[in-house]
Amino acid sequence: YSNIEPLEPDGFREQVSKLFAEWYRICELPGGSDAASTHYISQLHQNGLLKGDEMTDRFFRVLMELSVAHCLSSEVINSSGLQSPHQMQNLSFLAIDIYAKLVFSILKVEQGSSKLFPLSKILSITVKFIQKDSEEKKNSFNARPYFRLFISWLRDLLSPEPIGDGVNFQILTAFAGAFHNLQPLKVPGFSYVWLSLVSHRNFMPRLLIGNAQKGWPHVQRLLVDLFQFLEPYLRNAELAVPVHLLYKGTLRVLLVLLHDFPEFLCDYHFTFCDVIPPSCIQMRNIILSAFPLNMRLPDPSTPNLKIDLLPEIREPPHILSEVDAALKLKLMKTDVDEYLKTRQQGSSFLAELKQRLLLSPSEAASSGTRYNVPLINSLVLYAGMQAIQQLQARTPHGQSAGNTVPLAVFLVDAALDIYQTLILDLDTEGRYLFLNAVANQLRYPNNHTHYFSFVLLYLFAESNQEIIQEQITRVLLERLIVNRPHPWGLLITFIELIKNPRYNFWNRSFIRCAPEIEKLFESVARSCG
């Protein structure tokens, strides 16, 4: 055999082709063909084709080649010649459906025996086949046959009469693993089919409902795969047409999640904010606007709304992301913990902070910014969480970590030192990213929203540099002027900023730095009541 790909034994392909034709005849038998198909599958076993070895791989590979080739050869080029993207070739899925049914029948027959023929084996053969097909065919790669194949399997394998009770979840996670290996960064030509499959009503909701949320990490990983592919293209406002379609498709999927599974978006907001570029404001707002289904949000423009008296404001938000992962990765966590505990004035910790947040020149080139954004996000949220814990430990039970706490107590915390150091040491870009990390915590009523709203307003009030106040305003405003939705915590913070005379907002010169800016603030002031 050649050392790259073991050649098939002579005549293997013809043999498989004959077997496939025989299976087709069985499927065509009227009135169902249970007996015939069971017999056929036991024959496959006897021929040694289903042992799960190299021969098995070859067997399924040839079947896929035959099915996909049949499907694509049936492509009827539209008589209208030039095709608009959505005027689609009509494909015959007959062979694909027959192949899907063969796999389903093999798995169903196996259900009785001890060794459930590993679905994961079939999926890994399928994934390798698609990866190879896309690398070989490049621009002429067509993913639609595979879309049909996966949809058929999802429908048959996950129907209420699953192949063995309670294996639904294992089947779902097997598909999730396959889709992760077919993610857009690995198979870019598969991207549209990939998102159609991942968001399909037979797949994504089933992973998110029940199973004690064990399916959530799988959906989260797939969404991160998607954002990582989009990220380089989304850094700029103008998108190429194919990217814009993928972006709009992503928005639709996020809206379904926002409407049906908001807690999922709530609990993973930190992970998603790491992979969504700062310029992608509306998409990030969708995630940050999610709030628990059973929560009712008070209207932010209610006059004299007492935020600190809201019962939810004292509760910490549920976060499933690993907030301190980036800090650990950069070996900063120990130093941060040390500083938060001791607040050693003399330590060089604060002085070195900015340097540690910068990327190396090569990393900076590929990530489109000079700063390690996930590290900034991790530092800001992790330090804040420690501060909130300390504040709640210190304040008499039942009081919120809000302005009912004497400000002196609030100022005592080391996290604030870190924030003040960053806001003074960082350059314009770094400060913008830092302020974004803070603003990403302004969500539904919880004690993070409350604390970070305080932090922003405090930094605005205490800074003596107008440029800092301008940037804080900018970070809030650019999240408000985009189309809805807008996170509740963002609205209450901005309303507090423009209404509370303590911040002297309307006398700041930058709100009149240009006529259209002046008009903008007037309209914002009106819309915020």
């Binding site: 639609r144 380089p232 020149p361 440029i467 900018r474």
Partner: protein, 171 residues
């Protein structure tokens, strides 16, 4: 310059391997853009496979009319009194098909309830005399098969008084 950082597509970015991948990915995406998955790609024709096919003259329709799979057709049909028998026919003679599913949906809409033990559809003839959490009792109409002598056989509707419909048999 205080806000969102545009992408610094400076020379270094373009030459670095990362940019090459991005260009390649964009080209592949562009090609895929012309081969989007279509709604019909994920629809399976709901073909009805007759259990016991019989050869019929070619002039007879050899495949079901698409109308038979249209929910609106069944909704309109069940409006008529004769429509109920048609629903029962589809239910008892086109089993495990979309037509059976649609017929059952229409029967439920007209407050027929399926009894899983007797495999029979019941409809309240009047308000039940007794209702508890477990069952209801009263007079019902039910759809039955009359097993009289040969020429008398056939589907019919009967009245059943003092019937107890236990809810754990309700589908």
């Amino acid at each position: 310059d205080l806000g969102a950082i545009g992408d610094n597509l400076t020379g270094s970015a373009i030459n670095s391997g990362a940019m090459h991948n991005q260009l390649y990915n964009l080209q592949m995406l562009e090609a895929a853009y012309h081969k989007l998955p279509q709604p019909k790609d994920s629809e399976r024709a709901r073909t009805y496979i007759p259990r016991h096919p019989a050869a019929t003259p070619p002039s007879y329709p050899q495949v079901q009319l698409p109308m038979a799979s249209n929910p609106a057709f069944w909704e309109r049909l069940s409006m008529h009194s004769y429509g109920t028998d048609t629903m029962f026919f589809a239910f008892y003679y086109q089993q495990n098909t979309y037509q059976q599913y649609l017929a059952a949906k229409e029967l439920k809409k007209h407050s027929w309830r399926y009894h899983r033990k007797y495999n029979t559809w019941f409809q309240r003839h009047e308000e039940p005399k007794v209702t508890t959490d477990e069952y209801e009792q009263g007079t019902y109409v039910y759809f039955d098969f009359h097993v009289g002598n040969e020429d008398k056989q056939g589907w019919c509707q009967r009245i059943k008084t003092e019937f107890t419909f236990e809810y754990n048999y309700l589908e």
